[in-house]
Symmetry: C2
Subunit: 362 residues, 2 copies
């Protein structure tokens, strides 16, 4: 039980919101993040692309329709079962392009390095980043390196930004979710967050848990292709309303964002949501809810009901979605609210993450 | 003299290169930065765009010619005379697009915030960033916010990436510099570095020194327009061979990079390089060479000799280049070497910055 105590000390309680200073929860991807965005970033930077609250902006540049996204990775530790900050920085940004319906074209990579970082470790992580980019068929075309004094950053932070090309006719956005739409998920949730936390805190689980970190652009292409056969009217949102990768804040926060953006409810079936036994056990030990744990190789797709079965079947043919499931539906009732029908048959609200149960997971 | 002693303690000596760990000099923009890039980043990420060593990559996306760049800003302190990290993060990335001949289209902004940062300060800096973007006619269309624990970063780091549109026929690259070309500079050097250093160390100079931080895209447009009248043959590099903003590592490092990339020499006239008296005095006090001090509103342009006078005249009509000068020429002798003819008539080599005389200036 010493493990439990140790983990509890480090994870809980979520820091209390302090009104005049930034707290860890402001970076959680949950409620405090949304508050910070709404109170500081959006009023200052207000523009239509940013206000859509998607994971990427869709812009038109010299006639080309492009997706543009950015993410800084501050994961701790730098290496974890199933990945490292280098590969994660590539997968995360590719996924933010992919869930916008874009084909990734190129990446930037900007490194903030703490003085004293071993050069061999830096080389290993840069090589991992490069290998992940190459495996995904993209390239890092521009970069930056800053070095700060010892104590001024925690070893290494990596920002990647990415540009993708959005095909004609592809137009996905959270606000397009409609009552009756099905919610599809490509597999087991919580692996990434628990793998990183286990490595950070030196916890040993009953069976090894690996991060699910992966580039999802070939999977999103499969979804779009499967759905295009179902589209009958090009003037309304296509059968794939939107896709989202549930990273920080987990599945719960991603669905809350969609529900809020579209003014709809979302109803999940607990029995349909795949969670590995080892992850479930670790969550119970640590007092975490898998619905809020970060993923880096998962996506949810909101799909028109008439297309959902075909899209799900197509997904299941892809190696990264063998365990894909239909986990619930979009409802007209309770706009902005996500509910879960538990395996016991009860129903509970699934609120947005408040505070930060797992800081520095991506 | 206590100021001098204090500053000397903080600035000198440059840290010795240590073979197996990252040192501050690896982020200087000078020789150690180039070594790190050549030994770790380029071998891993090798691709044609990155290998050109320009401040931005030129890519083709769905038929559009675009410039793409990234920069993380870790300047300390966050506010300094003439600017702050918010406006700097916009100007720096716009300038990296502009010197590639691109018209800035949109930006991303990614914040890494240390727990405990006052929300009012964050709001002020985000507002400054937004105002700088708006003043430059561009917008932040996508972003990210991470919060790390107290002690895991130094208050606030901001990454901005940018996309710009490159007009047909515009093709600038350091490798195009040719013997006989003139070197044009748009004004006084060293203001930014000395302003930041003065604020950081609490130094008082004989007269106030303000950062020159500014967006240079309207100035680069003036240069390109002036030069286009001089272009006679579209199949060879245009009269503007390349532009560069001499930030980290200063004028000396930027010219060394051009000389190395093009396999040419560069010959500067000390008497022609504008340095304010207050900056010169501060540099003497601190043991710094203005040629190595960072700028954030300066550019150098390498221009064909027959076009140089007209381009210089056009520059001087722009508010950010009233003090523009022709400061020297590109030579066939001493390829890869930059020399300076001093005001005393002697000649000395101007090497690339080695170590880091002013860390965290941008």
């Amino acid at each position: 039980m010493s493990e439990k105590k140790n983990a509890a000390r480090l994870i809980c309680p979520a820091p209390l919101p302090v009104r005049d200073r930034v707290v860890l929860g402001h970076g959680s991807g949950g409620k405090l993040s949304a508050d910070l965005f709404a109170s500081i970033f959006l009023p200052a930077l207000r523009n239509p692309a940013l206000a859509k609250l998607n994971d990427q902006a869709i812009i038109t540049a010299a006639g080309a329709r492009l997706a543009f996204t950015t993410d800084t990775f501050v994961v701790k530790p730098l290496l974890f079962p199933g990945g490292d900050i280098g590969s994660l920085a590539v997968h995360g940004t590719i996924n933010d392009l992919a869930v916008g319906g874009a084909c990734p074209l190129c990446l930037s990579a900007a490194f903030v390095i703490e003085e004293g970082l071993p050069l061999d470790l830096l080389r290993q992580l840069v090589n991992s980043l490069a290998a992940a980019a190459q495996a995904a068929g993209t390239a890092v075309v521009t970069g930056d390196t800053k070095v700060v004094e010892r104590g001024s950053c925690d070893r290494l932070f990596i920002n990647t930004s990415g540009i993708g090309v959005v095909a004609d006719g592809v137009d996905l956005s959270c606000e397009y979710a409609r009552p009756g739409d099905r919610i599809l998920l490509n597999g087991f949730i919580g692996d990434h967050g628990i793998a990183v936390l286990g490595e950070r805190e030196g916890l040993e689980f009953e069976s090894a848990i690996q991060s699910d970190s992966a580039a999802l652009h070939t999977l999103t292409a499969v979804l779009l292709a499967a759905a295009s056969h179902q589209q009958t009217d090009a003037t309304v949102p296509g059968p794939i309303r939107c896709m989202r990768d549930p990273t920080r804040g987990g599945l719960a926060s991603a669905l809350n964002e969609i529900a809020a953006a579209a003014g709809v409810g979302a109803q999940l079936e607990e029995a349909a949501i795949p969670v590995r036994e080892a992850v479930r056990g670790a969550c119970e030990l640590l007092g975490l809810d898998p619905l809020y744990v970060a993923n880096e190789g998962k996506l949810i797709a909101i799909v028109a009901p008439e297309a959902a079965a075909a899209v799900l079947q197509a997904m299941q043919s892809h190696p990264l979605a063998r365990d894909a499931r239909d986990i619930g539906c979009i409802t007209a009732e309770h706009p902005g609210v996500v509910t879960l029908r538990t395996t016991l048959g009860t129903r509970r609200m699934v609120e947005m993450l408040s505070g930060d149960q797992l800081p520095r997971i991506c």
